[in-house]
């Protein structure tokens, strides 16, 4: 990360970078905050921000002087808890459908006509009839599984505060019927997004639900591909969850450290640097300025519009209740896809467990 060094140098500091994987990062951050040696700058996955803010680890943007006013509100929402904003996103990504052009044209499917669930199911049936695999996705029993299911859940019009609504059940019914019909490989139940991508990359599947970060791999896949937004139930673009990281400033006992930290953060998130970071990491910019620069790349406009329709997982002021609901959601998906429970029963079990865990919210 040369950018880190140059930003550090311009702020008159030397930056030591320590990397962790997502779950380890959360426990590591909590531990270091407990021991009173939080890092000066913390870059974390967006759904973790509200947990850390709730833990009292992060400084809110009123306490420091991070200016997040240029950031699109739907992307900033993941960092908002009880009316206060914590940190600033450096880039966003989300989910869409990659498709294999060769398979679709052989099966006689025009991807531009896929606007609703019914269109997509019909396309999957055609692909299956042509002897190819349907769609790869990740329904694993972790946060990734919820992340992948949310576009369909939200695309039905359902809300996370009521998992057992008819819309929510309809979304789960859609996935379950695909699994029963053999449109989704059975391994989806244990696949991470990386392994489900590997299945798509074999060239045997027509669609893959995956993220912006796979763009570089798609170029290497060795077949012609295209991207369409995930359709909603009735038609139109479904809101997908936002991924991507926030730059945050953890609270420090020694407040004299903040001015330098703020210089580093504003350097990291300046339009030019953010553009470079986003391009390298496969992110979509979070400000109009960066997005305009990116729009010149022909692959990116579909992602820019997908990000514009996307929604933070912890938004709707769910905050730290989101993880509790999410756990029940991925469990319901697993129960239904394995046939252990019907979609209706799975969702109503999930809803009562989520209500109990969140105290009825």
């Amino acid at each position: 990360m040369n950018l880190l060094n140059s930003c550090g140098a311009s702020a008159g500091a030397k930056i030591k970078r320590t990397g962790y994987d997502t779950t380890a990062l959360l426990s590591q951050t909590l531990l270091s905050a407990q021991q009173g040696n939080s890092p000066d700058v913390l870059i974390v996955d967006n759904p973790v921000v509200s947990t850390l803010a709730d833990a009292g680890v992060l400084a809110s943007n009123d306490q420091d002087s991070i200016d997040a006013s240029a950031v699109a509100p739907n992307l900033l929402a993941a960092g908002v808890l009880n009316g206060k904003t914590y940190g600033i996103p450096i880039g966003a990504n989300t989910l869409a459908l990659y498709y294999n052009k060769t398979i679709l044209s052989a099966a006689g499917v025009d991807p531009s006509t896929i606007k609703s669930w019914a269109d997509l199911t019909a396309a999957l049936a055609k692909v299956k009839a042509a002897g190819k695999g349907g769609i790869t996705l990740s329904a694993i029993g972790t946060e990734e599984g919820s992340f992948q299911f949310l576009p369909w859940f939200w695309g039905s019009g359902a809300n996370l505060t009521n998992l057992a609504s008819t819309q929510g059940v309809a979304a789960l019914q859609l996935w379950t019927s695909w699994m029963k019909a053999g449109y989704v490989p059975n391994a989806a139940i244990q696949d991470t997004q990386t392994t489900s991508w590997a299945e798509f990359a074999t060239g045997k599947y027509a669609f893959a639900e995956n993220g912006t970060w796979q763009l570089a791999n798609a170029e290497k896949a060795g077949f012609a591909y295209g991207i369409i937004p995930i359709p909603s139930m009735a038609g139109g673009v479904a809101p997908a969850p936002t991924g991507g990281e926030f730059v945050t400033i953890p609270l420090q006992k020694d407040t004299s450290r903040y001015p330098t930290t703020e210089k580093i953060v504003s350097c990291l998130t300046s339009a030019d640097n953010a553009f470079n970071t986003d391009t390298t990491l496969g992110y979509i910019g979070v400000t109009a300025a960066v997005q305009q620069k990116q729009a010149t790349n022909p692959q990116l406009p579909v992602w820019i519009s997908a990000v514009a329709a996307a929604k933070g997982r912890t938004s709707d002021n769910l905050g730290t209740n989101y993880p509790k609901i999410s756990q029940q959601l991925w469990t319901a998906v697993q129960n239904a896809l394995t046939g252990a429970k019907s979609p209706t029963a799975a969702m109503s079990t999930a809803q009562s467990a989520a209500a109990a865990a969140t105290g009825g919210k």
Binding site: L26, T51, A55, I189, S326, A340
Partner: protein, 327 residues
């Protein structure tokens, strides 16, 4: 003598001052009296192991117990002052719908794994003790599962058992059987992780039983053969009784290792699908670290229940050992 008292000086400089303080510091005055000096030397020799035990065993155990008895949120984890909540976390766990299945899975996983590991390990040990050509090479090959990093073997099993592209299903298909959703069907997930765990545990049993077999003098077999004992009788009347001490150690160590198995299950199934292969070990991790919002209290409570289960088995072992010594 003055060197050994020097050891005492180090611990007090460490962070865990509370733990080190439990060892009585020697005072200069004691050294003048002869019996006290030897007492002192005894303490000094004990100090390293005592401090080690306190620092690396007693303190973490105390912390784990403390975590499980307080109502920790992420906020109180960072800033302290988590209110004491008695056994509430344990009640939360026991009332959790995951509890009964997780307990059952833990017991089934442990007992079935051990039974197969032990029988196969013993069988192979009997086989290799015959010293035929290549036996040393083959025995070394059997150690491979033990030498491989768990992440490698568990990932390999996970690929082999993949529903759609796994080599196991492809073999089943070739012989005309329907594919099995090894890792994604609730009724198969636990079976699959048990199979992988048995494979990993066999070398351990093989090595211990093999060394046990080697310790049995050939004279005894010769005497038994002269008395007209057939192969079956030689095994049950000679080999098995003489192997009993080694068997007890192997089984106990196996129990402790297997109860806490985490990596294999987590890598292969994440305890899923929908909790179908969740054991206490994976459930505890799931609660404490596998979620965006850690539940440290209930997670620590599950871990402590696991420790209690291990302790029970440990006491059973000591019981058996004492009985053996007496007889």
């Amino acid at each position: 003598m003055s060197d050994t008292t020097g050891i005492q000086a180090h611990p007090s400089q460490r962070d865990g001052g509370g733990a080190a303080a439990a060892v009585p510091p020697p005072s200069a005055r004691d050294r003048s009296r002869k019996p006290a000096a030897s007492q002192l030397a005894a303490w000094a020799f004990l100090a390293p192991v005592t401090i080690y035990l306190l620092l690396f065993y007693a303190y973490p155990l105390y912390r784990s117990l403390d975590l499980s008895l307080r109502n920790y949120t992420v906020r109180s984890f960072v800033h302290g002052h988590a209110p004491f909540s008695g056994l509430k976390n344990y009640r939360i766990d026991i009332r959790d719908p995951t509890f009964t299945p997780a307990l059952l899975h833990t017991l089934i996983f442990t007992l079935v794994s051990i039974a197969f590991q032990f029988v196969i390990g013993l069988g192979l040990a009997m086989f290799f003790v015959q010293h035929f050509k290549l036996s040393a090479t083959l025995r070394a090959l059997f150690l491979v599962p033990w030498l491989l990093p768990l992440i490698v073997s568990a990932s390999t099993w996970s690929w082999m058992l993949n529903s759609d592209s796994g080599v196991v299903n492809s073999a089943l298909h070739r012989f005309g059987f329907a594919p099995v959703n090894w890792l994604t069907a609730p009724k198969w997930a636990l079976v699959s992780v048990i199979i992988a765990n048995i494979w990993i545990g066999i070398p351990f049993n093989l090595v211990l039983m093999y060394s046990g077999l080697q310790a049995i003098s050939p004279d005894i077999y010769e005497a038994a053969a002269l008395d007209g004992a057939n192969g079956w009788q030689r095994f049950w009347r000679v080999t098995f009784p003489l192997l009993r001490p080694v068997t007890a150690v192997t089984l106990l160590l196996g129990l402790v290792y297997t109860l806490k198995v985490f990596d294999i299950i987590w890598i292969m199934t994440r305890g899923g699908p929908a909790g179908a292969s969740t054991t206490f070990a994976t459930w505890s991790y799931q609660l404490s670290f596998g979620n965006l919002l850690p539940a440290f209290g209930p997670g620590a409570a599950v871990a402590n229940m696991l420790i209690v289960m291990t302790l029970i088995f440990g006491f059973v072992y000591f019981r058996i050992q004492r009985k053996q010594l007496e007889s």
